[in-house]
């Protein structure tokens, strides 16, 4: 038995990637919506279990895949958000107006997206990372385009063109990275992360810088860093809500993770253009532009998409600073994904598109409104949630390293938080918007009516609880992992 | 605290109380003479007080316990302040407590009590007077405190007794700052006592009056208490001015009967001189419009500030 287990262990990462992909293909073939939804949940749950099992194993390289401190927390998070999103989507698919055909497409794309996301994190080879992110992009483009209509198509087109451009640039950067390693590795280019890190110090600094510039612009487009962010609000707003949740929760993280891998390599060479400074600059720009743009939003999901840009910018600032600030960046990524997907879940449950329609939600529908208020407070960086802890550490570190940075950082955080809290006030205090109550879905429901609200809201509470735990009682093991991740990211 | 000091203290307080109405009477008499009238006897205020105290007081229907309690409180607070200001002798029993800021505080307490009494019945005049009285005080207090600052710098203390002792020794000498502080304190004294040009103590039922407007609803013993309080306040201020600017002749502590008599004589002479000065000043000047008063007191404030700054410059402390 133990031997069988020992045999199984090396296949775990591969299984984690293969299971959703195979499942996605299978889901495309299943006509029954109810069965598909259940299978979707089951697959996501299996993925989460696999990720947990992987977390219990020691780090190591396993063929083309590897686990280390940098990808494991994100992987766990991704598997969890995948599971909760699957639950949520089972509850809300009919309401979103999916036909059986688009439902099938959605499920398939969702699982493939999950698989690609896991692969992007697990890949030890930067080329593979690139392939995975490209796949994830295509899958999410498909999901965005599922809703017919002018806006959805525009969003998908924009996503496709900008994403395509970004991915091409990232590939060029990847190739240049390989070329940079070529002379040191004796004429063989390699994209293995371990190998690249081994030779980065002797490689040509100029080439590394060139590679990083392309990788930054390429993956930065995916991560939604300003000024490469333009696809992001529209994609978040026009796809299914579940898709918005995984876009903010997973795709952005995966893209930033890819940048961090590049930075981890390039940063080892002292003769490069400082990768941290570039990341920091884009992060700061993202923060400021997003903070000010939040004030003019009317569409709820665009609003929160801009908030995602802000938070990715914050994480980028953290990683750009390096050192303990990288830990803040990691923690911020985790906290942001949890809370942001919770927000999208509540938005989906509230079923309202415009911010103005959300006004007075809390008094009117307390079970949706108050969690939304709490989640918005959390995303605004208020204690005791983990975003407060990570923002505190970030500010503290930036004050210690780059005192001038504190001023724009604090201003950006403040302006963004004020914009969020203006909406919090509207939601908590009204005046109530003219009620546009959605009739509870009857036709095409895939889960029993009594279960649907639970399936939709339990993930919200779970995410908030986890964010709370991360903020108040971060497990020492996880903290050690984050510190190690920060060390890898530089 | 020796029995001698306590005795001195008691004599001082008794003298203050006894002389206060006389001083008011004296000023009135002097003013009348200056205006060519014969004027009532200086004893007239005492006679008025005695008569008022015996009359049955009349309280308004809407009056509360405040109308009854505040006159006692105000006079007690003023008396306490008066007990602290040196008159004919220094080193009295309460000398350690004789702090200038405390004197200001006690005067503020009696002013507050007066304003409460004025507001108690709920009349237009009472409220008007109270509002004006408190507003004027807002300008008088900073001028007073800044004058105190000058003394605190010169004498190293805000204790009246210590200041008196330091000045009697002639230590600080003659300074421009003292002159400025004197002017400021004079203005404050005029405002605090409701004298010309801030208020006219001789009128009733004028829209511009302040002090008298607050007492329109009082009568009998309560009015007597208020009149006594006003008189004592004037006494206190003149004594204060005398103690600060004319410290000569004040009997040192425990100087025996001879020293006391000399000190008493000096004190009475000083008070008389100040009363004459006040009467002359009041006869020569007209009352201001109400809203000119802040300018008047503001000027006093600036003079005191200027005095302090001159001190900083001249003492070379900077």
């Amino acid at each position: 038995m133990n031997e069988a287990l020992a045999m199984l262990i090396p296949t775990l990462p591969g299984l984690l990637v293969a299971l959703p992909v195979i499942g996605g293909v299978a889901l495309a073939a299943i006509p029954s919506p109810r069965l598909a939804a259940m299978l979707n949940i089951a697959l996501a749950a299996a993925g989460f279990a696999l990720a947990l099992a992987l977390a219990a194993l020691p780090f190591g390289v396993n063929g083309w895949l590897h686990t280390d401190a940098l990808n494991l927390p994100l992987l766990l998070l991704g598997a969890l958000v995948g599971l909760t999103t699957a639950c949520f989507s089972a509850a809300t698919l009919p309401r979103e107006g999916f036909t059986p055909v688009t439902g099938r497409a959605f499920h398939a794309a969702f699982q493939i997206f999950l698989g690609a996301h896991h692969l992007a994190l697990l890949a030890e080879n930067l080329g593979l990372t690139w392939v995975a992110i490209e796949t994830a992009t295509l899958a999410s483009v498909l999901m965005v385009a599922l809703h017919r209509g002018r806006a959805a198509i525009e969003a998908a087109w924009k996503f496709l063109i900008l994403g395509g451009l970004g991915i091409a640039l990232a590939l060029f950067g990847t190739i240049v990275l390989g070329l940079a390693a070529q002379p040191v590795l004796g004429g063989e280019a390699s994209l293995s992360f371990t190998a690249l890190r081994g030779v980065a110090a002797q490689a040509d600094g100029g080439l590394l810088s060139l590679a990083f510039v392309f990788l930054l612009v390429g993956y930065g487009t995916k991560a939604g860093l300003v000024p490469l962010h333009s696809w992001l609000p529209d994609a978040h707003a026009e796809g299914p809500v579940a898709m918005s949740a995984v876009l903010s929760g997973l795709l952005l993280n995966a893209a930033l993770h890819a940048i961090l891998r590049a930075k981890a390599v390039v940063g080892l060479n002292p003769a490069t253009l400082s990768p941290g400074a570039l990341l920091l600059g884009m992060g700061l720009l993202s923060l400021l532009v997003a903070a000010i743009s939040l004030w003019r939003r009317r569409d709820a999901r665009r609003f929160f998409a801009w908030s995602s840009i802000e938070h990715i910018g914050l994480a980028a600032i953290g990683f750009g600073l390096g050192g303990a600030a990288s830990v803040a960046g990691m923690l911020h990524l985790l906290g942001h994904s949890l809370v942001k997907s919770a927000i999208f879940f509540t938005l989906g449950q509230a079923g309202r598109r415009q911010l103005a329609e959300l006004a007075g939600l809390a008094p009117a529908r307390a079970w949706i409104g108050w969690p939304l208020v709490v989640a918005m407070l959390a995303i605004a960086g208020l204690p005791p949630f983990s975003l407060f802890a990570s923002e505190f550490l970030l500010v503290q570190q930036s004050a210690a390293r780059l005192p001038w940075l504190v001023v724009p950082l604090a201003i950006g955080l403040l302006v963004a938080a004020l914009a969020l809290l203006r909406q919090v006030h509207a939601i908590a205090l009204g005046p109530a918007a003219p009620s546009a109550e959605h009739a509870p879905p009857t036709a095409g429901a895939v889960v029993p009516a009594w279960l649907a609200p639970w399936l939709a809201m339990v993930p919200v509470h779970l995410h908030l609880l986890l964010a709370l735990l991360l903020g108040l009682a971060l497990p020492p093991a996880l903290y050690a992992m984050l510190v190690e991740a920060g060390r890898i990211a530089g | 605290m020796t029995p001698g000091a306590i005795f001195t203290q008691l004599v001082h307080l008794a003298l203050m109380l006894a002389l206060a109405p006389l001083l008011v009477g004296l000023v009135r008499w002097l003013k009348a003479r200056l205006m060519g009238r014969r004027g009532p006897s200086p004893l007239q205020p005492w006679r008025d007080l005695a008569k008022l105290a015996r009359k049955q007081p009349l309280l308004a229907e809407s009056a509360s316990v405040m109308s009854v309690a505040t006159p006692y409180l105000a006079l007690a607070a003023t008396s306490a302040a008066a007990a602290l200001v040196p008159g004919f002798a220094r080193g009295m029993a309460l000398a350690p407590m004789a702090d200038l800021i405390l004197v200001a505080g006690l005067l503020a307490l009696s002013r507050f009590a007066l304003a409460l009494a004025a507001m108690d019945v709920g009349t237009a005049f009472g409220d008007l007077g109270a509002a004006r009285e408190m507003s004027f005080a807002a300008f008088a207090e900073p001028a007073f405190i800044l004058s105190v600052l000058c003394f605190a710098i010169l004498a190293g203390s805000t204790n009246l007794d210590a200041i008196g002792a330091a000045f009697a020794d002639g230590g600080p000498g003659l300074r421009i700052s003292l002159l400025l502080a004197l002017l400021a304190l004079l203005a404050v004294a005029l405002a605090e006592n409701g004298r010309m040009p801030v208020d006219n103590p001789a009128t009733h039922l004028e829209l511009t009056m302040v002090h008298e407007a607050m007492l329109l609803e009082t009568s009998g013993r309560y009015l007597a208490l208020w009149e006594m309080q006003a008189a004592l306040r004037l006494m206190l201020w003149l004594s204060l001015l005398a103690a600060l600017f004319l410290p000569f002749g004040t009997a040192p502590a425990f100087s025996g009967l001879g020293g006391w008599l000399l000190g008493l004589l000096a004190w009475v002479v000083k008070l008389g001189a100040l009363a004459v000065a006040l009467a002359v000043f009041e006869s020569a000047i007209a009352k201001m419009r109400v809203f000119r008063v802040p300018e008047f007191l503001g000027a006093a404030l600036l003079l005191a500030l200027l005095g302090a700054v001159f001190l900083f410059l001249s003492t070379g402390l900077a």
């Binding site: 006030h425 | 105290a53 237009a124 700054v309």
Partner: protein, 675 residues
């Protein structure tokens, strides 16, 4: 000691949960208030115990982020403020027992958390816990305002809650970088670590500015005071009392802790100057506004600004004097600040609770709708009179003791030597005296218009005096405030550790049990002596006059300057012959208000022959908040407008931007050239 604090803090959390559960079981409300009362008493007792026996070692809590584990510790400074918080909390707990028994669960949930946040902030032994407590305090109090706004559904309440939260966030956005700057690269945020690595030069100035902006906005210091009179009065009376009495003090504690205790020892005299000047401006503005406001609770909130300013002045002056190596004087100033902080907490709580009783009894907070309440609610009136007199700095009450010490320190501060300090101190001294007198005027106006005179509305006549638990709270506060006023020396001897921490000098030189003073000023204040003196003279007067004048007073109608007798349907006279709130404020409005508060007034006379009365229209507005908020809002809107062009671009243009970014980075690479 820290463990006791942790236990007390932990007890508040189930209370908050119980408050949340009050939606289903209303009886839980009483549990919440009783529990908060007991925990507050515990806080006070703990504060005294720490002041007497010392605080012991910090306690590391098993929660919090690993880089900044939460830690608790109590030293003199925090114990002093904890004592203050405990007293205020206990009083408001009693008050709430009477008046908040049917409070909505939202409020019951936030109330214990509010106490929790304040106590956590005070008990923190590191920067992170401090911020956490500070934020918890802000958020919980915001929750209380939101609960109120949901209750009343008023636009004013909503605006107040929003403004409040905005300033709370602003405070956090300033304090967190300040702590970050203090922590430096080592990132050790424990107070011991911060003390060991003092700031210098420009960094210190930056920290000072940030702390003043952050904690100062919470304390209501000018120029960030504008939100306070809007937000504090919105809450129910007990919460307003906690906000004004305790929360502003917690903010001042943060200032004292960060600027004076952790950052101050090696600083030059100029270190305290900003605090001194800002404090003076706050005192003046607050007092002046208090003389003009027409809503009782707003008036009290403005008076809070005044007193907070005075406390801040004490702290600043202490730093100035310490920088000039005048330790004994610095301790006088610090003592003044601490004493006044405690005194203000007591009398302001008393006043707010009284205002709550008045609102409850007479149905209004507007001064123009009150009057004559001393007849209907004599106990509340007397208690409030004590509070008002203390706030007016009348001897021998507690307000005077604090201001006496402050003035003594100010009057001795010329010894610092530098001319700029001397001139500044002289100017500031004048401002203190001015604001004290203005404060007295404000308090007279508040108390007189509420309780004296004749009823301005019939509703006032139906008022009833306070119910027993609330009555106990009022009386206890009177006793405490009077006691603190009469024994400032003993109190400061108790608070000697706190004074030493703020001033860097061990204790007041002269602080006997019956007196308080400063050796360098060679003067002392004996409050008990003053009380005895006044009492003896008053007794003698009473006794003497009783012999002279035997008849009891007769009652008659009001003469009222000869106004005609009121008609029968106005049994209490014509209220129009009493001063209105605006009318009573008129002298100061004209003297100072037109300059400082943009006050205006206009009298509209009726046409000749029309018997209608003339109308006085008067008003003012505080120019400070709009002066900096409006440009910021305009800038925000402009920027947001400008940022919209990013949204309006076509896909081609977006591509162009991405392309441009790439080219820019490449150009940067080309410029950087080969290494």
């Amino acid at each position: 000691m820290s463990a006791v604090l942790a236990t007390l803090l932990l007890m508040l959390l189930p209370l908050a949960l119980a408050g949340g559960g009050a939606a289903r079981w209303p009886a839980l409300a009483r549990l919440v208030h009783g529990g908060c009362f007991l925990v507050s008493l515990g806080f006070a007792a703990l504060g005294v115990a720490v002041l007497v026996f010392g605080g012991g070692d910090p306690l590391l809590l098993p929660v919090g982020p690993p880089w900044a584990p939460l830690s608790l510790a109590l030293d003199g400074l925090s114990a002093w403020f904890l004592l203050l918080l405990g007293l205020v909390g206990a009083a408001t707990g009693l008050f709430a027992w009477t008046h908040e028994a049917e409070a909505p669960p939202r409020r019951l949930l936030c109330y214990p958390l509010f106490l929790f946040g304040m106590a956590l902030c005070l008990g923190a032994a590191d920067g992170f816990t401090l911020i956490l407590g500070f934020e918890a305090m802000s958020l919980a109090s915001w929750g209380l305002l939101v609960a109120r706004a949901m209750e009343t559904r008023g636009e004013g309440e909503r605006l107040a809650a929003r403004l409040y939260l905005g300033f709370a966030l602003f405070g956090a956005a300033c304090l967190i970088p300040a702590i970050g700057l203090m922590g430096g690269l080592a990132g050790d945020l424990s107070f011991a670590g911060l003390r060991a690595a003092p700031m210098q030069g420009g960094m210190a100035a930056l920290v000072m500015a940030l702390v003043l902006l952050g904690a100062g906005s919470k304390a209501g210091l000018v120029p960030l005071h504008g939100w306070l009179p809007i937000a504090h009065p919105v809450a129910p009376a007990g919460v307003s009392a906690l906000m004004s009495g305790a929360m502003t003090k917690v903010a001042l504690y943060v200032v004292a802790r960060l600027v004076l205790d952790l950052g101050g020892p090696a600083q030059p005299p100029a270190w305290g100057a900003p605090l001194l000047v800002i404090g003076a401006a706050s005192a003046l503005f607050g007092a002046l506004r208090a003389t003009q406001e027409v809503d009782g609770k707003v008036l009290l909130a403005c008076s809070t600004i005044e007193h907070v300013g005075l406390v801040a002045m004490g702290l600043g002056l202490s730093a100035v004097l310490r920088g000039a190596d005048l330790g004994p004087l610095a301790s006088v100033a610090a003592g003044a600040a601490l004493l006044h902080a405690l005194g203000h907490a007591l009398f302001k709580t008393l006043l707010f609770l009284s205002a709550g009783e008045v609102e409850h009894g007479a149905g209004s907070r507007r001064l123009d709708a009150l009057g004559g309440l001393i007849h209907a609610m004599p106990l509340v009136a007397l208690c409030a009179l004590f509070g008002a007199a203390a706030a007016a700095a009348l001897p021998p009450l507690v307000g005077f003791a604090g201001e006496w010490l402050l003035l003594q320190a100010l009057l001795s501060a010329w010894r610092v030597g530098a001319l700029w300090v001397q001139v500044m101190v002289a100017a500031v001294t004048a401002v203190v005296a001015l604001s004290t007198a203005l404060g007295a005027m404000a308090m007279l106006r508040f108390w007189g218009l509420c309780f004296l005179g004749r009823a301005r509305t019939p509703r006032t006549l139906g008022a009833q005096d306070a119910a027993p638990p609330a009555r106990a709270a009022l009386v206890a506060l009177v006793v405490l405030a009077t006691g603190a006023g009469l024994l400032p020396g003993s109190l400061l001897a108790l608070g000697a550790p706190a004074v030493a921490q703020v001033s860097g000098h061990a204790g007041l030189v002269v602080a006997g049990p019956w007196s308080v003073g400063a050796a360098t000023a060679a003067s002392a204040y004996w409050p008990l002596g003053v009380l005895l003196l006044v009492a003896i003279v008053a007794a003698a007067l009473v006794a003497g006059l009783r012999r002279l004048s035997l008849q009891p007073a007769a009652r008659g109608p009001v003469w009222d300057g000869g106004f005609i007798a009121p008609p029968a349907h106005l049994p209490f006279g014509d209220p129009a012959t009493q001063a209105s709130a605006a009318g009573f404020a008129q002298p100061l409005r004209r003297m100072l208000g037109t300059r400082l508060l943009m006050a205006r007034e206009a009298v509209h006379f009726a046409a000749p022959g029309d018997p209608a009365p003339a109308r006085l229209e008067a008003g003012f507005r505080d120019p400070v908040l709009p002066a900096f908020l409006r440009p910021l809002l305009i800038a925000r809107d402009r920027l947001a407008q400008a940022a919209e062009w990013l949204r309006d671009l076509s896909i081609r243009q977006f591509l162009g931007i991405a392309f441009g970014t790439l080219l820019l980075l490449l150009a940067l690479l080309a410029l950087a050239g080969p290494p």
